[in-house]
Amino acid sequence: MMDDIDLELFNKLEALNPDIKTCMACGLCTATCTTGKFTDMSFRKVILMLQRGKDKEAIEKVKSCMMCGKCMMVCSRGINTRNILLSITRIYNER
């Protein structure tokens, strides 16, 4: 149930990185992902999962990121994906 989700951390993330809002889920970030060769990393899904309160699954994905920045290079909305990933590792807790 979406009503019970605590989005405090996500709102913090969104305030720091307002460009998150403009994602249109085209999937370029996932398609180009260097880590994606080895894991099911998907930046697009990470953001959605955090939005839907699935923090744990999202964090598992974030942990595998190599920070290469390819997703940032290809993003058609110009979202600073790399810094958002970094922000996540600062804001969210590994539980």
Partner: protein, 346 residues
């Protein structure tokens, strides 16, 4: 002997623009409108996508252009017969016309939201339609809209849905939804607004900008997934279910207000006129045009023309463009056939 005219059936944007252009071409159009004023659906709308332009200003301009044009309001067609390329048209007010050509500008009906029973329109208090929201923007008078905190928009209600026999896309709902989402967010800045879409079909000029604006400036949350059912909880709030298809997980949430983006359907009662003129419908129920490219303003019946959303869902710019094209087509038809109206004038 009746005066020879060009009869325009329907006084919405398509009818008004066709009439105005015909008049400019030196012909004598008559608008037959069943309601008591010109404007059609445009008169119900407050602002227009993509840039939230004032609907009334546009309507005023169109009405002004029609000031000198002969109109028959509160009037219905009772009978049409065709003889030697002349249409004898009887009206409900007892009058009749001889027309050299007829332009059908009968527009569309909004999908009746109660037909999607699972959305509970007419059953749950806080389920409203796009038209009702537009009416609220105009009047600010709707007790169902009371400081909502969470608002949902369901796209494609009555469109792209074999379960209501409408498999086509209504074309205008995506942009309308995002426009209305921004507007309601502007009105209730503390609210969370969700748009449940299947595809965001932002095809026109400025539509993609509207999408970006909705996301960036208004924080409209677009969820890819159709709402499957709506119910009411004990507090009278709406509980909706959908799938977040981008994540592949079902989601359930409580909303204070749900707006159904009703699509376009063929206008009710149009079959009656179609039968009089021997004109068929296409697979979507709208009036069939002669072909898909060159004959868009023509029906298969000589002398019967079409413009606007009576042939398929259309945006306003599309409608206006088609109305202008129809006027030219009528003009050419009359010229080529040496019709009376034409010879009178030239």
């Amino acid at each position: 002997m009746n005066e020879h005219k060009i009869l325009i059936i329907g006084g919405g944007p398509a009818g008004m623009e066709t009439a105005y252009q015909l008049k400019k071409l030196g012909l004598k159009p008559v608008i037959i409108e069943r309601s008591d004023k010109l404007g059609g659906h445009l008169a119900q709308w407050d602002r227009l996508f993509p840039a939230s332009d004032d609907a009334e200003a546009l309507l005023e301009k169109m009405r002004e252009q029609c000031i000198d044009i002969e109109k028959r309001l509160n009037t219905r067609i009772t009978n049409i017969t065709k003889e030697n390329n002349i249409f004898h048209v009887s009206l409900s007010n007892g009058n009749s016309y001889d027309a050299d050509a007829i332009v059908l500008c009968t527009g569309f009906d909004l999908f009746k939201a109660e037909r999607k029973q699972e959305y509970g329109y007419g059953i749950y208090n806080n389920v409203i339609t796009n038209a009702e929201l537009e009416h609220y923007f105009k009047t600010h008078n709707d007790e169902r809209i009371n400081e909502p905190k969470k608002i949902g928009f369901v796209h494609c209600v009555g469109s792209r849905d074999v379960k209501v026999n409408n498999t086509y896309c209504s074309k205008v709902c995506c942009a309308t939804a995002l426009k209305q989402a921004c507007e309601i967010k502007e009105e209730f800045p503390d609210s969370d607004v969700y748009c449940f879409y299947m595809d965001l079909r932002m095809f026109g000029k400025g539509y993609e900008d509207l999408y970006l604006k909705a996301q960036k400036d208004f924080d409209i949350k677009c969820v890819r997934g159709r709402v499957c059912e709506v119910s009411e909880n004990i507090e009278g709030k709406l509980v909706i279910k959908a799938e977040d298809t981008l994540l592949g997980t079902p989601m359930k949430m409580t909303l204070d207000l749900l707006v159904l983006m009703c699509g376009m359907e063929k206008a009710s009662g149009i079959e009656r006129i179609q039968n009089m003129l021997n004109i068929k419908s296409n697979a979507d129920g709208f009036i069939e045009t002669r072909d898909t490219f060159y004959g868009l303003n023509h029906t298969k019946e000589e002398g019967v023309f079409v413009a606007g959303a009576c042939t398929s869902p259309k945006t306003l710019p599309d409608t206006i463009a088609e109305a202008r094209a129809a006027a030219v087509e009528v003009f050419n038809y009359l010229k080529d056939n040496g019709q009376q109206t034409f010879s009178l004038r030239f």
